[in-house]
Amino acid sequence: MYTEKLLDHFKNPRNMGRIENPDGIGKVGNPVCGDVMWIYIKVKDNRIEDIKFETFGCGAAIATSSVITELAKGKTIEEAEKITNKDVIDVLEGLPPLKKHCSLLAEEGLHAAIEDYRKKQNSQK
């Protein structure tokens, strides 16, 4: 059901863990499947210097978490905002139809973290 690529990210998730005192944190979940994803970002000079995730979820949730953090790492905030679930699916070389929403969760998680970062920036101004 899952691609080799996905299983690899699932087995060896990149950027797994937590960032203490992150610049932004995105906490998203899907009420239907109950899966939850937290994305932490550290931003420096408008660039995502570090990114980590914690995920309670299915194989696809974990793998898409891993992929989205890889895709976002090193990107500017604006670049990172343009990353979509489609990019994640492309990296994974496909997802079962039922699992499309897992990649959306990853997209939402990254976007929520960026929004959180922006909010914090604004409140510091």
Binding site: P13, V32, C33, E54
Partner: protein, 386 residues
């Protein structure tokens, strides 16, 4: 490979496959035909019916062959609903039935205006016979309660419910798919009117099942055609399947006691070890009134599928609920019915043991799973929090 998903399906025994062989090839004749080779086939089919009847303590004429447990349950439910809709429109079932029963009830509700009471269960999954009694109305035509639950293994008080059904003159279907071959069954003692079984759950072939129909029970067939099975279940008979199922019944009958005691030891070992090694897990299902081969547990702060994938990497086959709901995202309706919160229910694992399992299988699982859980918990936002 360590296969721990016998409640999903079992391997068909080589001697069963061997037994079926000649009825596929040399003795392929249509049992409904008139020539003598067909009469021989007919006789073997009737012998198989006798064996299966014996296996359930029924009469041969009370057994019809179906394509499996799902069809058996559908015939029992839709068949009696259609036959008795003049008498009433109320059905009693439980909230932890297999989807073959639940979705047929929903179909009858939505399409034909039946009313269905889904009885609650206690925290162990036990249905209280008193609840059945209380749910009875003048319009009740059918009760359908499973003998044992496929996910948690809890064994229901069928005999008591059967008594209530009998006293009130209500037709009683029992989904016996998970007990047939595991526990001796007497449909007479259980006081059931319908009893569903599926051969692939007890080392028989897939695609064949049976339905016990107590003599005189009212129902209408759900399929129509020739008059095989007295017109109650038309279609050219699956002769090899029928013969294979009978053989599997025979073998199960002989091995049941031995299987039970061996599998129980292994299952208990697995349970005790995991409870000891993994913090914050909970065992689901009744402590004693439970199939001896079934262990269902919830691992808090971890999701089921991710554990299953890691188990699979290690060559261990398990499931998180029933196989046929693996396409669903929602947590198990059975665990929710026990009162388990959704986020905990998501972390469920079912191990169901069978004839080929050894202590080495259990040891391997007990070695592998704790590490998997540890790693996944590291990844979990909830675990860290603590």
């Amino acid at each position: 490979m360590v296969y721990l998903d016998y409640n999903a399906t079992t391997p068909c025994l080589p001697e069963v496959v061997e037994e079926m062989k000649r009825w596929h090839t040399e003795l392929f004749f249509n049992p409904s035909s008139i020539y003598s080779p067909s009469q021989e086939v007919k006789k073997v089919v009737e012998d198989a019916r006798k064996k299966i009847a014996g296996f359930l303590d029924a009469l041969p004429e009370e057994i019809i062959f179906t394509s499996g447990g799902t069809e058996s349950a559908n015939i029992a439910l839709t068949g009696s609903a259609f036959a008795m809709k003049d008498k009433g429109n109320h059905i009693i079932t439980s909230s932890i039935e297999h989807h073959a029963v639940l979705n047929t009830c929903k179909f009858l509700e939505k399409q034909f205006g039946f009313r269905v009471t889904y009885l609650p269960v206690d925290r162990y999954g036990i249905i209280d016979p008193e609840d059945v009694k209380k749910a009875l109305t003048e319009k009740t035509i059918l009760i359908s309660i499973m003998a044992a639950n496929n996910e948690i293994g809890t064994i229901e008080p069928i005999e008591e419910i059967g008594k209530i059904a009998k006293e009130s003159g209500i037709t009683f279907h029992c989904d016996g798919v998970q007990v047939a071959g595991k526990i001796p069954v007497s449909v007479k003692k259980l006081n059931v009117d319908f009893f569903s079984i599926s051969a692939h759950k007890f080392y028989g072939p897939k695609g064949i099942g049976a339905l016990y129909i107590r003599k005189g029970t009212r129902f209408k067939p759900i399929m129509h055609g020739g008059h095989q099975e007295k017109g109650l279940r038309p279609g050219t008979e699956n002769v090899p399947g029928i013969i294979g199922m009978a053989k599997a019944c025979e073998i199960s009958k002989n091995l049941m006691a031995e299987d039970a005691s061996r599998e129980k030891i292994l299952r208990d070992e697995l349970e005790n070890n995991l409870v000891e090694k993994i913090p914050e897990i909970q065992i689901n299902g009744h402590p004693e009134k439970r199939l001896y081969n079934t262990l269902n547990l919830c691992v808090k702060y971890v999701e089921g599928e991710s554990m299953l994938l890691h188990l699979d990497f290690e060559g261990i086959c398990a499931s998180s609920g029933s196989a046929c709901t693996s396409g669903s995202l929602e947590p198990s309706h059975v665990l929710l019915a026990l009162g388990i919160p959704p986020e905990v229910a998501h972390g469920s694992l079912r191990f169901s043991l069978g004839r080929a399992n050894t202590m080495a299988d259990i040891e391997k699982t007990c070695e592998v799973l704790p590490k998997i859980v540890e790693n996944l918990r590291k990844m979990s936002p909830f675990w860290d929090k603590k």
